[in-house]
Subunit: 234 residues, 2 copies
């Protein structure tokens, strides 16, 4: 099982530019990608396909968006034939709702677990690879019919991670929000993955790329970790 | 139907201190409150009851927390007998999960709609009074079994509202998150209620208290409104 899970898509250099080398390495010569645009809400799916197609062009990977296939059976066949599955960011609830409604979650998980397809996801697409979407930052603008997701990795990711205290804001900080999760699910590790970082997962091996430290949360324990090989907190 | 919906609980003056005059006015002589602490996650429910009891002490209202009644039937009777229902903030998903699991949502809605009880809620407790919890800022750390809520008011509230752009954060701003909601539900108005503000709702009349402007979102329309009488955006 081969995955590339990115915290975010955009940077000062442009859309997915910071990720190009990692995408090339993950693709390892594969030339076609099945793109899942369903997290797009304010960005419509046609526009999203074009954006990702252009961003992937320098890697030589041709991108085809799944929303072009209106029939669920046709979409399921596209998943079963995919060599790269690319899941874009946006709203995680909407992404999960669209995939559940179309009955595609099991097909995606099976295709990646078997090694037939490799998986690239950023932001909502990284959340989707986790056991649940419970550590998304997104607003629940759509009902996903349950929070369980692909469970391709045995831990949770919190993308766009930072723990800034915003002046005048009396809601929870990010660490306080994640502490709510770890109180309710003390056995499940959560990785706070900062902007610009990514995870390269090869079966049980986890390698973090990017410039910043990340933070593991498990129960009441918090551990900061540097880029490089990561192991799950015990 | 009489409601007091606050954006937040804490201020530099102390817990709920900014809300005391509004709580007194809403209570209008009622001396007992049924407190719903279920949004508390990192704060345990016993501690939460004490916090709210102390905060309500100057108003002369005695607070009893619903979590003391372990039997659902007993809890339902407490709702049916309540003259004030007070719903505290914390995690909106956990709040809705606990109330749905205990089968108490319909009883609370009926008691407030009939006028038998008045309703006070802050943060998650304000979200709960809306048609759904889709405009909460909280992390989905628990599965609420659906997003529909009490529907005591015909619009959505986004508490702790601000639209700050956090330096280095490449996720969505608050307005971008709310735009995702209004794209999917263009007919449903959302009020961005800033820290320190509250709504006093008396049947169809909405009065906003506090020092700050708030923001209505409906479809693609955005309107800033000052404290005082509010009407729903057309």
């Amino acid at each position: 099982m081969e995955l590339l899970l990115l915290s975010n898509s955009s940077s000062d250099a442009g859309y997915l530019v910071h990720a190009q080398a990692a995408i090339r390495e993950l693709a390892d010569g594969r030339k076609t990608a099945c793109f899942i645009p369903f997290a797009g809400v304010t960005r419509d799916w046609d526009t999203y396909e074009t954006l990702v197609r252009d961003a992937f062009a320098p890697t030589g990977i041709a991108v085809q968006s799944l929303h072009r296939l209106a029939e669920p059976a046709e979409a399921a066949r596209a998943i079963d034939a995919a060599e790269l599955i690319v899941v874009g960011g946006g709203n995680t609830f909407r992404l999960l709702q669209c995939l559940r409604e179309r009955g595609l979650l099991a097909a995606i998980a099976a295709q990646v677990r078997s090694g037939a397809a490799r998986y690239i996801g950023w932001s909502a697409g990284a959340n989707l690879a986790c056991p649940t979407i419970s550590t998304t930052n997104d607003m629940p603008v759509a009902d996903p019919g349950g929070l369980d997701a692909l469970a391709l990795v045995p831990f949770q990711i919190n993308p766009h991670y930072f723990n800034l205290v915003v002046p005048g804001f009396r809601g929870e900080t990010r660490d306080q929000r994640l502490a709510e999760f770890t109180v309710l699910k003390p056995e499940m590790p959560v990785l706070g993955l900062p902007e610009g970082n990514w995870l390269r997962i090869s079966n049980d091996r986890i390698e973090m790329g990017g410039a910043h430290a990340a933070r593991w949360f498990k129960g009441a324990d918090i551990t900061d970790v540097q880029p490089g090989a990561l192991s799950l907190p015990r």
